[in-house]
């Protein structure tokens, strides 16, 4: 009997259970907010789930949205583990897109097996370099990386606008966008009849790769230790400055890769509004996924489903899509809050030895 009680208690106080509970509460709050619009929350959520996962095409659309969110979220999760706050993923996505678009616009007809890797690499490198500016300013001059990365978002978006309305503008079009990129850098469609492109495969491979790096390599250990206890890391011979810069490069690189994948897989040209705030949503995803690659995968699917489903919800029930952003905010507040409550409760309860160390 006692064993049963302990087991039950372990389950309902485990971090995962509490996290799921917090997400559930946030959606309950969302139901209340939906009711304010006059629609039935049950209908709304039903159409939302339907819209996200109800058909082959809807699932494909959800995966299309998952791709940039997952790629960006992965990099941000690594940065967060090292306690580097990169709020500039939005701009890094744009810079990565610029890198890939350059390959697709100016290198002529290149074969696919060179074109795609080259475009992805260009996206990664440009995104990483853009992020490294904030990393270097932080290390050399002590500038707060949060504010620098954020300001650089606005600068990156203006650079994009300049390119698509100026030197790179498609001369045959009136709208501000570039010509279509070369066929050689376009990612293939993997489910015929949908927009789902091979970017999702890249994203899943990246998830596995980063999971392995963070879990089994010295580098991953050094990054985590730098975040958990910089003094101990420094004492243990880790160059924490280099780790901070590396965390910036990785997060910027993956955001850039997300931008490149959007160009090569989805839009096939550089255009305005390429990222409708993916860089910000990805922060929420990295936090919700507990800064771990597999957690980020689940969170990215959840948020992509929300965004795609909300589209259908707005069409059939009239609830504005914006409710998704509000639910995202609630999810974050509840998850962070409940996590702290759990820790505070554990330190004051008798089972002090069960405290989580990480």
């Amino acid at each position: 009997m006692k064993i049963l009680m302990i087991t039950i208690r372990r389950i309902y106080t485990s971090p995962i259970t509490i996290q799921i509970g917090a997400v559930f509460l946030a959606f309950l709050g969302g139901a209340f907010l939906i009711a304010l619009s006059g629609a039935s929350p049950i209908d709304a959520y039903q159409t939302l789930v339907q819209g996200a996962f109800g058909s082959k095409n809807n699932i494909a659309e959800t995966l299309v949205k998952t791709t940039p969110l997952l790629l960006t979220g992965l990099g941000l999760a690594v940065a967060l583990r090292a306690r580097v706050f990169n709020i500039g993923a939005e701009g890094q996505i744009y810079m990565g897109a610029i890198g890939a678009a350059f390959v697709g616009l100016f290198l002529g007809d290149i074969p696919t097996f060179i074109g795609i890797p080259l475009a992805m690499l260009a996206g990664f490198i440009v995104g990483a370099l853009w992020a490294s500016i904030a990393g270097i300013l932080k290390l050399k001059l002590g500038a707060n990386e949060i504010i620098v990365t954020l300001m650089m978002n606005y600068i990156a978006i203006e650079i994009t606008h300049y390119l698509i309305s100026g030197p790179w503008k498609d001369p045959t079009a009136t709208e501000p966008f570039t010509a279509e990129v070369a066929k050689g850098i376009q990612l293939p469609i993997i489910i015929p009849g949908t927009r789902l492109h091979a970017g999702i495969i890249i994203a899943v491979i990246a998830t596995i790769l980063l999971w392995w790096v963070m879990r089994y390599t010295v580098l991953g250990y050094q990054l985590v230790l730098t975040g958990a206890n910089p003094n101990a890391a420094e004492y243990g011979g880790i160059n924490t400055g280099r780790m901070i810069l590396l965390a910036m490069l990785i997060s910027g690189g993956f955001a850039g890769l997300a931008g490149a994948s959007e160009i090569s897989g989805l839009h096939h040209r550089l255009l305005e509004g390429l990222s409708p705030g993916y860089g910000y949503t990805a922060i929420a995803i990295a936090l919700l996924g507990k800064e771990k690659p597999l957690g980020v995968l689940v969170a990215a699917l959840l948020f992509a489903g929300l965004v795609v489903g909300a589209d259908g919800m707005q069409r059939s029930t009239g609830v504005p899509i914006a409710v998704v952003l509000l639910i995202e905010g609630l999810v974050l507040l509840f998850v962070v809050g409940s996590d702290r409550l759990r820790l505070n409760w554990q330190t004051t309860s008798k089972d002090g030895e069960e405290n989580e160390l990480d």
Binding site: G142, I146, I147, E158, Y162, L287, E328, G329, L333, G337
Partner: protein, 312 residues
């Protein structure tokens, strides 16, 4: 393009006057953040509070037909968001940066959603008549200085007043000294009987109120409409001003004015310098913010900033 034709006295006065006007919301938000950060709490969510403040102010002003009711509502909202942030960061000891980002997303979502709920049926974006300019008698007649400083809306005068008041409170009152103690060495402050949590709650709430007021400035005194992009990173620029101003209201004022003037200048130059792509001019405030941050650097940041206080 002949520069001597442009750089006339009246042009310069116009630029300086709009600079003072545009710096108003930044300085208000920065002042509030100075209180919060001096007590050891960094609120990254002020960008979101500003947006929600601008929406609530606008919404209530339209519903009641009274601009002052809008101002009151945004003050209330700011206090409430400050309370929420303080609860999460002071009572629950959560990571302030993460809470700040969560609050940013939450407030942005709330503003965007409720605006669409309230005004979903109007085809044209609704607008209101904004606060009128109050020319201060006599002072506004002074040549040059008059139009630059004394020909603005009530918000700008509130900002002017808030600078000496907050300087006095922060440096000359027991409350201000307690804020400093709590921000620098909360353990010591606690030992001599200062209520750390109370001081931090008060400061974060002051910060929330001033941020919301800064946001309300845009919808009630500058443009007269609400838009999702109304704040456009100005909450984060205010955070940079705090660093540049070394947590001192007067220096934050100076930084804010420089910033406002550059912002006014770039808007004007977009019309005058048609050969320069406007994108590069729009970038100027953001580039300037990074430069400002580099000049300020983390020289005199409160020691206990971002560190939760846990009583042993």
């Amino acid at each position: 393009m002949n520069w001597t034709d442009i750089l006339t006295a009246s042009f310069i006065i116009q630029i300086l006057a709009s600079g003072v006007r545009l710096s108003t919301p930044l300085i208000l938000a920065a002042l509030g953040e100075i209180f919060a950060e001096r007590s050891g709490v960094m609120n990254l969510g002020i960008e979101g509070i500003m947006l929600l403040g601008s929406f609530i102010g606008f919404s209530v002003a339209i519903l009641t037909g009274n601009l002052w009711a809008g101002v009151g509502a945004s003050i209330l909202l700011g206090a409430l968001m400050g309370l929420l942030f303080a609860f999460m960061s002071v009572t629950l000891n959560a990571n302030q940066i993460i809470i700040g980002l969560s609050l940013l997303i939450f407030c942005t979502g709330a503003a965007v959603y409720f605006y669409r709920l309230q005004f979903s049926f109007s085809l044209l974006p609704p607008s209101i008549d904004i606060f009128e300019t109050l020319s201060i008698p006599l002072l506004s007649q002074i040549p040059i200085l008059g139009p630059i400083f004394f020909d603005h809306t009530i918000f700008t005068y509130m900002m002017f007043l808030a600078i000496p008041i907050s300087t006095f409170v922060l440096y000359r009152t027991p409350f201000g000294l307690r804020i400093k103690a709590v921000g620098e060495y909360p353990q010591a402050a606690d030992t001599v009987g200062v209520n750390v949590a109370f001081i931090r709650y008060s400061c974060v709430i002051i910060g929330g109120i001033l941020a919301a007021l800064g946001g309300a400035y845009f919808s009630l005194a500058e443009i007269g409409i609400y838009a999702d992009t109304l704040i456009g990173g100005r909450g984060f620029i205010a955070l940079a001003l705090v660093v540049f101003g070394r947590w001192n209201p007067v220096w934050a004022l100076a930084g804010g004015l420089v910033f406002g003037i550059v912002d006014a200048l770039q808007t004007r130059l977009q019309f005058l310098l048609s050969e320069v792509p406007s994108n590069f001019l729009i970038m100027m405030p953001y580039v300037l913010t990074i430069l400002i941050l580099l000049i300020g650097r983390n020289k005199q940041a409160p020691s206990a900033i971002n560190i939760p206080f846990i009583r042993e």
